[in-house]
């Protein structure tokens, strides 16, 4: 399924490629053929009304949900493919874990581990999954905490943190596994308005460092200013996918226009 290009030099392998993803929950078809290609260092914002399938799409990319049809490749490695007969096949479990290891995810509700301190939240996966030693991972975890501005919360339990602080810890925890792609599922939707700024600031810094990011969001200002491309989804389909400024300045599709008029 190699895409054809007209350029003399072949296009570099995209970081992530999703083709024609289909997903249904019972009788409800949530994804009706969604495709997306993400290049290195791109920041993709996915916007759209609730129920449009954008969160489900993100969850399918990192195997929190399985698709019934379509193909996902991460850094050239196939996670799931569908043959011409329509048979959908995932690779073996061990391989799924390796492939998804290239991605990190930040959730709407943080999903921090409440029984572990902030630092322990960060070093848990590097130690348990990668088998690294505590003394080797602690300095890096501390550096990440400093980066998100929470060095002083190192030994606090998550319940003692504000929503914005929790989400910044969650971002640091994802970064501790050194992912190549970070997925954000409505990272500010559970936050009080005055706390969204600190999380968005952290995400903006990541974008400035050319982290590849896919962000499902309702923050139109963030999408417009930080995203390289904006995907507008509705009814389980990509309605419009264009560079952020273009899409906001002159939405082509009436549904995009209606949605943006509602939001802004």
């Amino acid at each position: 399924m190699q895409s054809m290009t007209n350029e003399a030099t072949p296009a570099p392998t995209p970081m992530l490629r999703a083709v024609d993803l289909h997903k249904r929950f019972g009788a409800i078809e949530v994804l009706k053929g969604v495709s997306l290609e993400v290049g290195r260092g791109e920041v993709i914002a996915i916007i759209g009304p609730s129920g449009s399938g954008k969160s489900t799409f993100l969850r399918c990319l990192i195997h929190l949900e399985t698709v019934q049809r379509g193909c996902i490749e991460v850094e050239g490695r196939t996670l799931v493919s569908t043959d011409t007969g329509g048979e959908c096949r995932y690779v073996a479990d061990a391989e799924i874990r390796t492939i998804c290891g290239a991605m990190g995810m930040v959730f709407q509700h943080f999903n921090l581990f409440p029984h572990l301190t902030v630092l322990e939240n960060l070093i848990e996966a590097p130690m348990t999954v990668k088998g690294l030693r505590r003394e080797d991972v602690v300095p890096k975890a501390e550096a990440l905490l400093a980066k998100v501005g929470l060095a002083d919360k190192r030994d606090a339990y998550p319940s003692r943190l504000s929503g914005g602080q929790k989400q910044r810890v969650a971002i640091a925890r994802a970064l501790a596994m050194e992912p190549d792609i970070l997925l954000f599922d409505e990272p500010t939707s559970a936050l009080d308005p005055e706390l969204t700024g600190e999380v968005l600031r952290t995400m903006r810094e990541l974008a400035d460092e050319h982290m590849t990011m896919i962000v499902v969001t309702h923050e139109m200002a963030f999408a417009r200013e930080v995203a390289s491309r904006v995907i507008f989804m509705d009814g389980g389909l990509v309605v419009e996918a264009r560079p952020a400024r273009e899409l906001f300045a002159s939405p082509e599709h009436p549904r995009t226009r209606a949605f943006l008029e509602n939001m802004l």
Binding site: L64, C100, G104, L112, F113, P114, T128, Y157, P158
Partner: protein, 217 residues
Amino acid sequence: MDYVLNILPPLIEGTGVTLQVFVITLMLSVPLGLALALLRLSRIAPVRAAVGGYIWLMRGTPLMLQMLFIYFALPFVPVIGVRLPDFPAAIVAFVLNYAAYFAEIFRAGIQSIERGQYEGAKVLGLSYAQTMRRIVLPQVIKRILPPVSNETITLIKDTSLIYVLAMNDLLRAARGIVQRDFTTSPFVVAAAFYLIMTLVLTYGFQHLEKKYAVYDE
């Protein structure tokens, strides 16, 4: 007072038997209960059903009946039939019975952990076993301490059922003296012994709950 001091040695001896049954049962039935709970939550339907049937059987019949069955009837059961001395027979019955109760406590605890915890662990690359061991079970322990404390206190008193196998636990020792001396004061002393044991347990579990209170959910 002299009389009480006089009857203490046989009662202390009986307490030894009671504590042995208690400790061994606890040490074996908690891990077995955890294993049963994980199987009860298995993806494989027949496994779930089998464990469900086991729990129904163990909770649905009296512990005393189970003990009598294992001691008197098991030797005559074809294939698995085995003749056990009284102490092992009692232990087997207690472990099988209490594991069923602990299984239900563990199951409820595991199911009370939010899906987000599993998802958070999964996207960090933790396997199912790692997620259980490192993320889920440590949180389950905190949540199930109160019911486990309940069950444990019930167990220390349930151990008195082993009198049906003519074993000299605390209560049977007390009864022996009551029948010999025509006085009920050994019962009072035995009650004091049970109260001391449950007090120690209550204190122990309170200490554990405090230890786990360092974090909120």
